[in-house]
Each structure stands twice: as structure tokens, then as C-alpha cells.
Symmetry: C2
Subunit: 386 residues, 2 copies
């Protein structure tokens, strides 16, 4: 018997279950794996022997329409390749004759894949571990973009355009600050610039790759408010000042991976604007919706996520270890790269994707984001109402 | 010459422009109106002579896909039927030979329609005013539901289900509190109960029609958290205590209609839960998205909004004055009711649409909300992952 297990970890996306479906389809279509299991709650299921057997005949295609991590996720981190939890995992893996493990997650999960690989090598247990990327943040190294990102872009661009139309209702408006996720990378906030192709985008965009200067921020707002009577801004959840320190962050509040808990920056910036400029404000957080709005998921993203899962199984059957990464030249291809190249690194947005002063996306950045334009973005406003 | 003007006021919805399209279509298909104008920024355009001529031949159907108030809205209120602004309006109306006015808005706008009607009668100028309802809040009297509501329900139910799937990812979760709009009526928050038909709804729902009791709220949370390890709650933006006072409201902060500014109640309730129970929390506001997400607008809602606009013109050509209201028995019909019956009143959700303790929707309430079920809500989760 040669069995396999698939597990999900980190924050869910609108398409991580499409990667799961890709794994299932490859299992169903290929020889080489006798039983495929899904692990409940990531690594936890592998530790506690909480596995679900996947039916080799059944149609699981509805998974491509379901957001969240359907098997359950966990934010469990292995200390190192000597972590005692690994002995528990070995027991479960041996019990079920598991020789292939697919880890679907972000850079923390690729770190897990790396440690699992080193551990199995050390204890001389034959097990091929392949990583499958997912993150809406688009911050995984060795990937031209990450599965999950394009769907979040879809949600962000469409919502930004719809909000822009809503804000047009009033002659004299407020300063509206919209907050995206993205952690230390500005990809998500910057993607909102796609809305500007339809004249329905923000006036200003701030990302962590550009040092946030309070005075310039307030000057930008004052100038645009004087001109237009309202200002529409998109910001990343994690802005940093000139010393690289998080704006308004609570350094006492860390998650189980030791990351600072982010959020509510739009509200705090609104407070700043109200206090310093005396202008009415409104903050909007795209919150969980940006990562789970499968009703508006990108069809391309579903295909890419699916293909990452499918290729992970193919690579594993060739006994190749590593992370399936997405490369895009003319076509999208799926390549295997070493775990260490993805694990624990952050792929920041290049600084020149933003303009020099750092308050909007540059032409170079627009070039990049064009990949994610969707026909459904088009909006046909009769010209007398533009 | 007998001309007409259409104006939008109050907060935008995903389908107010569909009502505009209904007015345009009736204008294009019927005799009786020579020129139809759109007033820029509601009453403001009528005061300042800022009108757009609508083309009698052109296809304006794209308006049904555009959220926001495309002509611009205003939150201007006429003091009474002797307001000096009315003399300015009379001048503009006479100048353009306007004898039909269509006011598209909420209960404040129906008040405007009432004052306009009384004023024109007093000065003996022949002008027929017809009101067209719109509000996502569903709180307009004499309507079984309001144009705009069903699309907001679509957004709320789908997002609630998607968030529920996202929250399933972690075994041990937090207390998640989602906030809907709705002002003094709980319709929007209560509509989230539709998600429970798919087992993806909230555990608790709180609305302004049920007095909020802090102790019971905390007890509800404690009980469910002990049982499930997480709690999912939907609340209206305006909860009231047993004395009828707004929770956490800032009574110094009023809008131009004298209404208290609401918002951020989910954040404040999260603070309360953290402080009193020491449980991690997350607040989510559906914010402007719930009223402008035209990408997920209800097709029925578009039809209803369109028909209200269309019928407004038909009634006016019969010289009938009043508000087009929606009645639903087996079929949806459009009837004219007097302005005073809609103006300035609030249609609360009946108390028996909630259960006795007031923390969830009752069977009676579910009966009502069934009208708004959309086939697209269906989600097919393979049974081994439920």
C-alpha cells in the first residue's frame, strides 16, 4: 500500500478547496496512490489520527465553489525537525502507510513541509512531501502570483468600483479609507488601482513597501479634498513609518506564529484625519470577505489553484520534493522549487510598482496587475452621467 | 409642452438606477411627456437648474447594472410647504414647463414629495408629484418590501454563508460579530437567518425591535462558546436597551436630517465581550458594500425597482398623486398610497418575527424572508466535509 494525505493550513482563501479538488482529481486519474486521506485541521489531524478517506470514484467538483478550508486548518508550527510532535506524526503516517504528503498553505506551511522532509530523511522513512501554495496576500517567493490572489483582486476591484459609484452620489463627500489585507506586502491594496481603468478607482493608495509619512499623507488628502470635495483612499493593513515600524500596531498582541496582529488601520487613519484636518471620514474594511467571497472568485484563479494541486500529485509520484510554484511568461507553468526558497520568506511588491512619492501605483505596477483584469469588471455608464 | 423631472435622494442602493430606467422606459414608450429631465443631486438640481435631458430614443438599460445614485443624491430637507427654497424650485419648474415630478428616495424623500404637492396646490401650479420608494432598510410603511432590500439581502446572506465557511477552518475560533445597516429596523440583520437553511448562518441575531440586555447577550455567548468553541453573531447597527436608548450612540453627532449617526456597534460589542469574557473577537461591518454590491444584485429586486419607476410615470399621466408602493399577495402589485402614509414613518419588523427571548428569528420571521431566497444561495458541500 502506498497512501497519501493532503492537509490545509494558514488562513483560508476562496480557492484553496480548488487545489484540494486538483489533488483529488490527480489521485482519481493516476495510478500510484492507493488511498488518499484528507487531514482534519491541518497538521493536527496528522498528529491526532483524524483523517477522512477520499472516495476514488466520487465527483468532488463542488469543492471549486466552496470558500474556506473545507478540511479545517491549523496555525500549528513545528519548532524544528526534532519537534516531539514529529514522532506522533510518524506513528500515524506509518499506521496508514502514508508515503506522500501534500501541504497546502502559505510560507509558514512551506516551513512545515521543509521540517517534515528533513525529519523523514533523518529517521529514514520514505515519504515525499510536496507543498501547494495558497495565499490571498501574493507574498510567496518563487511564484509570479499565488493561488487565491486573483479572487481577492476580483473582490477588491469590484467592491472598490461599486463603492466609488456609491460615493459619487453626494457632491460634497468625506474622506473614505478602505483597508485591504496583505500583511507586509502591498499587492492587494495596490491591485485596487485596476478600478482606475474605469475611472472608478481610489485617489490614493498606501502600501507597506513605501514609508508612510504622516505629513505627506495629510497634505495629499488636503489637496484632493480642496479640488474634489471628497477623497477615496485604499490602504494596506500594515503600513510602516520611515523607521520600518508598524503604524498603530499593538506589539503586545502576537499570533501563534509570532506575527503582530494587524487590522483597524483604516479606522485609526480616519481618526487622524478627523483630528488633524477636521474632515468627516468613513472607514471600510474588506475584512474576511476579500478572502472568502467565492461568489465572485476568479475563474483563472480556480484553474491555477486546481493545477497546483494536480501537479503536486504528479511531482510526488515522480518522487520529487518541493513546492509547486506558478511561473507566468506567455503561458502559466507549474514548477517545483525547494521548500527553503519559499518557507518563511516574504515576496514584497517591487518598490517601482508604486510611483516615486509612494501614494499610487506606477505604470510598471499597472503592467503587472493587468494579468488579473476580468471582463466582468467592465461597467457601461451612459456618457451624460459620467 | 408638458415636461417631467426625475430626482434621486437619500442613501444609494444597488437598484435605484433600475427605478430610473423604469421611469425612462415609461417615458420612451408612452405619450404625454415631451421631455424628461434628470435632476443632478436631488432637490439641489431643481433649485439650481441643474438638469440633464434624457434622450427619448437611447438605450439606457445599462443603468440596471450600476449601483449608487447615478444622477447624484442630496440630503436636503424642506422645512415645510412655505420653505423659500420652494419659490426657487417653482421658477425652475416653470422655466422648463415641468408638470410631473418623480421623487425616488426613502421616507425623508416622501416627506419632500408631500411638501412639494402641498406647495404646488397652494400656488395653484399644475404639477403631479409621484414618489418612488427605495431603501435597503426595508423600513418604508405601506410596502410589503422596498426596492433595494432584496439585493442587500443577497449580499448579506451570501457573505454570511461565505464567512461561516471561512470560520469553520479553525477548530477553536473566536466570537465574530457582523454588523448590518438598517437603522431602527432589524430587517437586514434578521435576513441573515436565511443562511441557516444551509447550516451556514449565525448562532445569534440581535435587532433594535428587541430590547438588548447586556447580561443575556453575554450569557448567550458564554453558552455557545462553551459548546462550539466559537460564536457567530449578526447585529443591527442600532440596538436599543430596555429604556429604548441607543447602545453606544453618540447623541452629539447628528446628520442633516437630525438622525443619530450610527455605526461601529460590532466593534464596541467586541470590546465588551473581550473585557467581560476574555474571549478573542473579530468584528466585521458589511458597510457600504451591502447597499452597492450590484455584482450580486437580486434579479427580482431589479424588476421590482424598475416597475416602481415605470408605474410612477403611468400614475402621473393619470394625474394621480402619491407613492408607488409594493404589495405582495400571490403576485407583486404596485399601488398608489398617500405621501403622508409613508413620509417620516418607520416600518419596524414585527416583534413576533423574532423568537421570544429576542436572540434569533422566529418561524414567523422565516416565513417572511423566504420571499428573498435565491437559487444562487445553494451550496453543495460533500457530506464527509459537513
Amino acid at each position: 500500500m502506498k497512501n497519501a494525505v493532503y492537509l490545509q493550513s494558514g488562513g483560508p482563501t476562496a480557492v484553496i478547496n480548488s487545489s484540494f479538488y486538483g489533488v483529488i482529481k490527480a489521485y482519481q486519474e493516476n495510478q500510484g496512490i492507493d488511498v488518499l486521506y484528507g487531514s482534519r485541521f491541518g497538521l493536527q489531524g496528522l498528529i491526532e489520527d483524524n483523517l477522512i478517506e477520499i472516495n476514488k470514484e466520487k465527483d468532488y467538483s463542488s469543492l471549486t465553489k466552496i470558500p474556506g478550508a473545507i478540511l479545517g486548518s491549523a496555525r500549528l508550527r513545528l519548532k524544528d525537525e526534532f519537534d516531539p510532535l514529529l514522532d506522533q506524526i510518524l506513528e500515524v503516517v506509518k499506521k496508514h502507510d502514508i508515503h506522500y504528503i501534500y501541504c497546502n498553505g502559505g510560507n509558514d506551511s512551506m516551513d512545515t513541509g521543509d521540517k517534515l522532509t528533513k525529519f523523514f530523511k533523518r529517521v529514514n522513512y520514505p515519504c515525499t512531501v510536496v507543498g501547494i501554495c495558497k495565499t490571498i496576500d501574493n507574498d510567496l517567493c518563487e511564484n509570479d502570483f499565488s493561488p487565491g490572489f486573483a479572487s481577492a483582486v476580483n473582490y477588491i476591484v469590484k467592491s472598490t468600483m461599486e463603492i466609488a459609484l456609491d460615493l459619487k452620489a453626494y457632491k460634497k463627500g468625506r474622506v473614505t479609507i478602505v483597508e485591504t489585507m496583505g500583511r507586509d506586502a502591498g499587492w492587494l491594496a495596490a491591485s485596487s488601482s485596476l478600478a482606475n481603468r474605469y475611472n472608478l478607482g481610489p485617489d490614493l493608495i498606501y502600501v507597506p513597501e513605501c514609508a508612510f509619512k504622516k505629513e505627506e499623507f495629510l497634505e495629499d488628502i488636503k489637496r484632493i479634498y480642496q479640488e474634489k470635495g471628497k477623497v477615496f483612499i485604499v490602504v494596506s493593513e500594515a503600513l510602516k513609518d520611515e523607521n520600518g515600524e508598524y503604524l498603530f500596531a499593538d506589539t503586545n498582541n502576537l499570533d501563534s506564529f509570532g506575527h503582530i496582529q494587524l487590522g483597524s488601520i483604516s479606522m485609526k487613519l480616519c481618526d487622524l484625519v478627523k483630528k488633524e484636518l477636521g474632515i468627516n471620514t468613513r472607514y471600510i474594511e474588506y475584512n474576511l470577505m476579500q478572502r472568502c467571497a467565492s461568489h465572485i472568485a476568479s475563474q483563472n484563479d480556480i484553474t491555477w489553484a486546481y493545477s497546483c494541486g494536480y501537479n503536486a500529485v504528479k511531482f510526488s509520484l515522480e518522487n520529487k520534493v518541493g513546492v509547486v510554484s506558478i511561473k507566468k511568461k506567455e503561458e502559466v507553468t507549474y514548477q517545483l522549487v525547494p521548500f527553503e526558497k519559499v518557507a518563511n520568506h516574504v515576496r514584497h511588491m517591487p518598490r517601482n510598482y508604486m510611483n516615486e512619492i509612494g501614494n499610487f501605483v506606477s505604470q510598471k505596477g499597472e503592467e503587472y496587475f493587468k494579468t488579473f483584469i476580468d471582463d466582468s469588471f467592465k461597467i457601461d455608464i451612459p456618457e451624460e452621467f459620467r
